[in-house]
């Protein structure tokens, strides 16, 4: 069979923020690094991140520090987070942000000339370093332009289909170039998975085509465990109209800058339902909420800035009970701030330039005068590959994971802004420890038999009669079903039904046929992505069935309340020796006293 071989000490799969940061760190440690990405360099989903990077720099409010950030993250994650990861994240995020500035990032500034920070849902103080509403682009461009001078070998438009193992440890990855379908083998001493999320398992999503859960699936099939897969974040504000843009993200920054949610009766419905553990931190009046968004330290946050899971459910409730907007969402109004400030239109355009642009161009709507229509959209997966908090290594020796495809820091719900800090904090750690691991390891042996099997499997769709299954159709149906049966509100019976359907989808995947040749063939690429999508969908459904309570991103109509018992466990899935997915509960380790005290102090 025909393939090219590349050898590296560390291979990083995925070139978003986490992957780039890992590659930079590994390269700095003096090992040879290969970086593989499915798209062109710099196009990864990180560019879509808008609001900012959460880091307790305390530039705007000097009461902020890592302890408050840690407590906020744990509260947001409803205490099923990996507390060690949350601690490391809160402590290291500020240094990672300063490092970005050193590498050329240009953040918005305070009047004193420091990095400006803004308010965001679930963060007690203004904490998000940002660049207008295109922070993700700034982050990825900074890492990209820094990274290209570090001697990293980049393989663009290259997709990995399987990880290879030598005994227990990982020893390589096999994939193809999207351009011409050539196969490629990467031999590596250590591999870092940084492939991002899996939003494409759902119909309404803010994710791009790349979010097919590749890393989750690669890791799972290579023997790593997945945890917390039931926790999917539905971002409360995605565009709902026109249909072709449904799901595209509307940044939380709109609410951070004072935007309010209103139903078709003109009520600010978020005031009606404030969870007990946030009551003391939430504004009593409209006026207090407004002062908070404008930096008044004595004011408390408006209810629109409660955690995403809660806001998303409130929106869904309004729509269900007939108080929704024309096209099945609710109204998000930023234009109302003209009540408080002169030149509101200019202010909005300066603070939210790409939102203004997005609605103007795609929706034909001027957000400085009209309210937007928004509704929940699948945004992020809290669950993912289980890793060691300090090293980011999975239970497979030599296999590391970082960023959205790894799990732990976010628990049941992620706070806005924590993902950009997550990817640079743990991307760095993964790169550092992967390099360290590689220095003490040799290249593993490749089994040619296994390569032939993979190749046969991968090209099989070309050999089937064209009249059988179409990959696009299966993907479409999977997304519809996941949206309906394992979406924002779940029940036992619907998830069981979905589980049954997944079995049918697996069978249909075995019959997928594609036409044309291997040159840049989207039909073929989709058929290969489906393998990953089905794997992660199964993980979501099985974990969801097991967690018989509602918590964060996992809401069950049949168990609408939190249960103390489930608050002490994570749900873990792995591939059994029979090839079937196994699910189990595992107790969360006891939090050390000093962290407990931090949480108590910040109640």
């Amino acid at each position: 069979m025909d393939y090219t071989t590349h050898e590296h000490d560390v291979l990083v799969i995925g070139a978003g923020g986490a992957g780039l940061r890992a590659a930079i760190e590994a390269s700095a440690a003096g090992v040879s690094v290969g970086l593989v990405c499915k798209s062109l360099l710099g196009k990864a989903h990180t560019v879509m991140a808008e609001g900012g990077i959460a880091a307790a720099l305390a530039n705007v409010d000097d009461r902020d520090n890592w302890e408050v950030h840690f407590a906020d993250t744990m509260r947001g994650g409803q205490y099923v987070n990996n507390w060690r990861m949350a601690e490391l994240h809160a402590k290291e995020a500020p240094e990672r942000v300063r490092e970005l500035e050193r590498w050329g990032a240009v953040f918005d500034r305070t009047k004193e000339g420091k990095i400006l920070q803004r308010n965001f849902g679930g963060h007690r103080y203004p904490r998000l370093a940002h660049v207008g509403d295109r922070t993700g682009l700034e982050l990825i461009r900074t890492l990209q332009d820094h990274g290209i001078h570090q001697g990293i070998q980049v393989y663009m438009e290259c997709a990995i289909v399987r990880l290879l193992k030598d005994g227990e440890r990982v020893c390589g990855a096999f994939g193809y170039y999207r351009e011409d379908g050539r196969f490629v083998l990467f031999r590596a001493k250590a591999i870092v998975l940084a492939t991002g999320g899996l939003g494409k398992a759902y119909k309404i999503t803010s994710n791009s085509w790349e979010g097919t859960g590749d890393g989750h699936s690669l890791g799972y099939h290579a023997g790593a465990e997945l945890i917390d897969m039931e926790f999917i974040q539905f971002h409360p504000t995605g565009m709902v109209w026109p249909p072709s843009v449904r799901g595209i993200l509307v940044t939380e920054g709109v609410r951070g800058e004072g935007g309010i949610l209103v139903n078709n009766r003109g009520e600010r419905f978020m005031f009606k339902d404030i969870p007990d553990n946030y009551k003391s931190q939430t504004a009593d009046t409209e006026e207090e909420g407004w002062r908070y968004t404008q930096g008044d330290k004595n004011a408390r946050r408006p209810p629109e800035l409660l955690t995403r899971d809660h806001v998303a459910r409130c929106i869904r409730r309004e729509v269900r009970e007939g108080r929704g907007s024309e096209h099945g969402g609710v109204y998000l109004d930023i234009a109302w701030i003209k009540k408080y400030i002169p030149h509101a239109a200019e202010h909005i355009k300066r603070k939210l330039p790409s939102m203004y642009h997005q609605f103007k161009e795609l929706g034909g709507l001027d957000i400085t005068t009209q309210p937007m229509e928004v509704g929940p959209t699948t945004h992020y997966v809290m669950g993912g590959i289980r890793v060691h908090a300090d090293t980011q290594m999975t239970r497979v020796p030599g296999l590391f994971a970082a960023g959205e495809c790894a799990a732990g820091i976010n628990g049941a719900n992620r706070l806005g802004g924590n993902s950009l800090s997550d990817i640079i904090v743990f991307g760095k750690r993964a790169g550092e420890h992967a390099a360290q691991y590689a220095k003490n390891a040799s290249l593993g042996a490749i089994n040619p038999e296994q390569l032939r099997d993979i190749e046969r499997e991968v090209v099989a769709p070309f050999e089937r009669p064209v009249t059988s299954e179409n990959a696009f159709t299966i993907q479409h149906e999977l997304q519809e079903n996941m949206q309906d049966l394992a979406g924002i509100v779940r029940t036992e019976s619907e998830m069981q039904q979905m589980h049954g359907k997944l079995e049918q989808f697996w069978q249909r995947l075995g019959k997928v046929a594609v036409s044309g040749n291997r040159w840049y063939n989207p039909g073929w690429h989709t058929s290969l992505d489906l393998y990953n999508l089905l794997t992660v969908s199964e993980g979501i459904v099985l974990s969801g069935i097991m967690r018989k309570e509602s918590r964060g991103g996992h809401y069950r109509e049949d168990y609408p309340n939190k249960s103390e018992e489930f608050g002490k466990v994570n749900i873990v899935v792995h591939k059994g020796s029979d090839g079937k997915m196994q699910v189990r509960q595992e107790p969360i380790p006891e939090m050390p006293d000093y962290l407990k005290r931090v949480i108590e102090a910040n109640r």
């Binding site: 798209s39 062109l40 710099g42 196009k43 990864a44 989903h45 560019v47 879509m48 300063r98 500035e101 050193r102 590498w103 050329g104 240009v106 953040f107 918005d108 500034r109 000339g113 420091k114 990095i115 660049v131 207008g132 295109r134 682009l137 700034e138 461009r141 332009d145 290209i148 001078h149 663009m156 351009e179 791009s208 085509w209 790349e210 109209w241 026109p242 249909p243 072709s244 843009v245 595209i248 790409s354 642009h357 997005q358 161009e361 795609l362 034909g364 179409n470 990959a471 696009f472 479409h476 594609v514 036409s515 044309g516 040749n517 040159w519 840049y520 063939n521 989207p522 039909g523 073929w524």
Partner: protein, 262 residues
């Protein structure tokens, strides 16, 4: 809303031709949606790059009815459907397949540009003082999503193919250099690179780059022309050259507070 006819260029580096497809048009639909529909129903192997579908990643650049644009930001309502809509790959780059072109040359140019070399931090925690006014100017360039539409439309690359000997860096990398040269913390001098290697002199200010920029960056007025003026300072204006020498080098001079206006 009815049907639209598309003439889409199909082929590879060895050649190709336009082929006709039809798509159902619904409210708010963009050209990329139509391409996806054609992929799903008529041509599953139709190649096209895309990622975010929200004008933020700059992957789906193509020429729609001859105009270089992002497919995801071109609403069908803005294009007349009474005659077939043509879709072509970007002309300035080698064709790969269908609407996909080989843009790797751009990544090579980017690598030629030395990264930021910041001055010593102003504060003990390793950070710097920077005003919003200073940031504003370079943030405009940093909005660039690298869709390479400017590179594609620039006639120096499109018609004269100045990619090697002499090489023209193209608008994208002119503003990238501008974002570094105007960076208030930077101490590296890239003007010789701009003049002799990226050949800023090949730009004749015809501003097509600015016209096609989906991020509305004023590439020429705010990026290329100020860079040209800086090149003049250093290489063609003896007075300014002496003034800058007297003040300890151009880069030094530009990082200090300005001389009072005489």
């Amino acid at each position: 809303m009815g049907q639209a006819t598309f003439h889409i260029w199909r082929g590879d580096k060895n050649g190709g031709s336009f082929q006709e497809y039809h798509a159902e048009i619904t409210t708010g639909m963009v050209v990329l949606d139509a391409v996806h529909q054609i992929q799903a129903t008529q041509a599953p192997d139709l190649a096209c790059r895309w990622n975010c579908k929200a004008g933020k990643c700059g992957s789906c650049s193509a020429e729609i009815n001859g105009k270089p644009r992002l497919m995801c930001m071109t609403r069908m309502e803005t294009i007349p459907t009474d005659q077939p809509i043509t879709l072509q790959p970007m002309k300035a780059f080698p064709k790969m397949k269908d609407l996909v072109t080989d843009v790797s040359w751009n990544y090579k140019v980017n690598k030629m540009i030395p990264p930021l070399k910041p001055r010593k931090p102003d504060f003990p925690d390793g950070t710097w003082h920077m005003t919003q006014e200073e940031a504003d100017r370079i943030q405009e360039f940093r909005k660039c999503i690298e869709c390479f539409l400017c590179q594609n439309t620039c006639h120096v690359l499109r018609d004269h193919d100045a990619k090697e000997q002499p090489m023209f860096g193209g608008p994208r990398f002119m503003i990238r250099v501008a974002s570094l040269d105007m960076h208030p913390l930077d101490t590296e001098d890239r003007l010789k690179l701009v003049k002799d290697d990226l050949n800023i002199g090949l730009c004749n200010i015809t501003k097509c780059c600015t016209e096609v920029c989906p991020e509305h960056i004023r590439i020429t007025d705010n990026g290329i022309i100020p860079l040209k003026e800086r090149v003049v300072d250093e290489f063609y204006d003896p007075v300014m050259w002496i003034v800058n020498k007297f003040r300890g080098g151009r880069k030094e001079a530009s990082t200090r507070t300005p001389l009072p206006m005489v």
